[in-house]
Amino acid sequence: MSNANDRRARLRAWSGAALVAGAAGLELSQLFVDWPFPVWAYVVATVAGLVLLWRGLDQLHIGMGARAVAAVLALFVVLVIVVPFGVVVVLGSLQRPVDLLTGPHVIPPQPTLDQYVRLFNIAYLSEGIRNSLIVSTTAAIVATLLALLGAYAIASLRFPGRRAVYTSVMLIYMLPGIALLVPLVAIFRTFRLIDTLPGMILGHVALILPLVTWLLVSAFEGVEPDLEHAARIDGAGRFDALRRVVIPMTVPSIATTAVFAFVLSWNELLFSRVLYVSSTPMLAPSIVNLMDPINRVEPQLSAAGLVASVPVLILALVMQRYLIRGRGEGAVI
């Protein structure tokens, strides 16, 4: 690799980077200043810049061009994901409603935590948070426990109809909630479970149980069968083998599945809306309530949205190492 080639490659790379940065920068600055360039000019410049950057870097180090361009594009992806949330929900919750009359702002001119304080004065919101916490946590735990036993049976026990049970788990998961809802309401009415927390928990468990079971079957099938055999030969009965050997080995999968169950329950809208009449508001329907033009105060909605998002975001972040598994580890997703 001669020096002249290297210099040319570096020139290419730098000019490419300059083009991309320049085009993007100019285009963005159009938010404040008016340039006379048409849109397509920016697009062409950016694409050309990226190509130059790629080619140039590739000649310096094999594969580096692709990586650099990927980094630039990844930045774009992150912006698409984070900007709406960051600007609208996070920053938006800090705005004063009166400031919104002067037009949209990205940065709140007079940020205030007022909306968060006010959240707790709205009964159905604070109750909604409380109820959702109780329901989702309980439903996640109950569903995971039941699914654990069931999944172990499907994965490790031999009984007639095992295949049928496994396929029916999948089939039942496919059923849309709307198909069950009306008769379910009828049943709940009969047993006076409508508008009660236990009823809500029961409904949520029924909703998430098939998927949770299916996930855990995959987790258990990943355990080396010899280990269970060894435990049984050593003298452990089924329950002991499950308790002392299989479960300790699958704790990450079980925890991840429980988190998944919690997220499913927490985000759920349809059942939570229908099974509630007056005394068990849940968080998701309460937020819909706030979106009604009659009640809507944007910053307040954002604050409520942020509070509703924090638990699931934290859980997802904590478990993300397990949720996105790579080769040879058995992915949950």
């Binding site: 990927a70 938006g92 949209p104 849309p176 979106m291």
Partner: protein
């Protein structure tokens, strides 16, 4: 006492059963609770709604009369049914194509090794984890005509001439919902592709490079064929999810603007049962949705599997 006899003596009563019975006993014990729950809260409701479809019921506990196939026949005369069905397709087709294309592109990007890659991968979880109602509320403000930020940005960036009306156009609003739905779902699709890509043998790519293929050719002749099954899976997942789209419609448009421009079949079933209180016809609609989903799900997964085997 000999060792063999002493051994046979120990254990809980379940262990004393012969092997086959022991398996079955534990299976019954472990699957029992789940089975009961499913029977009571899923199977029975399904069966019960069949009888609903053949009656005329407006409120539960109210008058019930047998009307045979009347409710089912109504499907064919109901213009809103046809409209909802058609609009469901209008949701599904763009959502599937967009989510898969964008998801694949993002997965390819994230497959490269650059600093901060894991951070970007983690940020993909945000749209997945966010409650749909929060996403709805977020975009409601973001895309608002007067107070939202995206509209003025688009104008100032020169991408459009005047502020687009995201929530007041027909059929524009439906496509706005598609866009929001894609925003929420493309990360999961991207992750599915990302996991698949990790199984692509590096040697095949190296061989292609040595053979002189550039990046586009490598993608077209090596990566893409490898990913075809995953594309199928992603399409199926997105299809089944989008058919059941409910939260965004309920929260953002309530079916409007206009009379029914953002209805899909699922939402129509909900409205019929719970707001028009026509429980029997609602049950019929719900069954149609169920049938579509189950049939599509089974056919597509079976078809996908046999395609893969061939």
């Amino acid at each position: 006492m000999s060792g063999a006899e002493a051994a046979v003596r120990r254990g809980t009563w379940l262990s004393r059963l012969p092997i086959r019975r022991e398996n079955q006993a534990y299976a019954a014990l472990f699957l029992g609770p789940t089975f009961l729950l499913v029977l009571a809260l899923i199977i029975y409701p399904l069966v019960f709604s069949v009888s609903l479809t053949f009656s005329r019921v407006s409120t539960l506990g109210g008058e019930r009369s047998w009307v045979g196939f009347d409710n089912w026949a109504r499907l064919f005369r109901d213009p809103l049914f046809a409209q909802s069905l058609g609009q469901t397709v209008m949701y599904v087709v763009p959502a599937c194509i967009l989510a898969v294309v964008i998801g694949l592109a993002v997965a390819l990007v994230l497959n490269q090794d650059f600093p901060g890659r894991l951070l970007v991968r983690a940020s993909l979880l945000i749209p997945w984890a966010l409650p749909p109602v929060v996403v709805a509320a977020m975009f409601q403000w973001f895309l608002d005509g007067r107070r939202g930020l995206l509209a003025p940005w688009l104008v100032q960036l020169g991408l459009v001439d005047k502020a687009p009306a995201f929530f007041t156009g027909v059929p524009g609003t439906l496509y706005t919902l598609v866009g929001i739905h894609v925003w929420k779902t493309f990360p999961l699709i991207a992750l599915i592709f990302l996991v698949s890509l990790q199984y692509l043998p590096r040697e095949t790519i190296h061989a292609a490079q040595i053979d002189g293929a550039n990046a586009w050719r490598r993608f077209r002749y090596v990566t893409l064929p490898f990913l075809l099954p995953t594309i199928g899976v992603a399409l199926i997942i997105q299809l089944l999810v989008t058919i059941q789209l409910f939260d965004l419609i309920f929260a953002l448009t309530g079916g409007g603007p206009g009379a029914y421009s953002t209805y899909n079949l699922y939402f129509y079933a909900f409205k019929t049962s719970f707001e028009h209180t026509n429980l029997s016809y609602g049950a019929v609609l719900a069954y149609v949705v169920t049938a579509i989903i189950v049939v599509l799900g089974v056919v597509l997964t079976r078809g996908g599997r046999s395609l893969r085997l061939s």
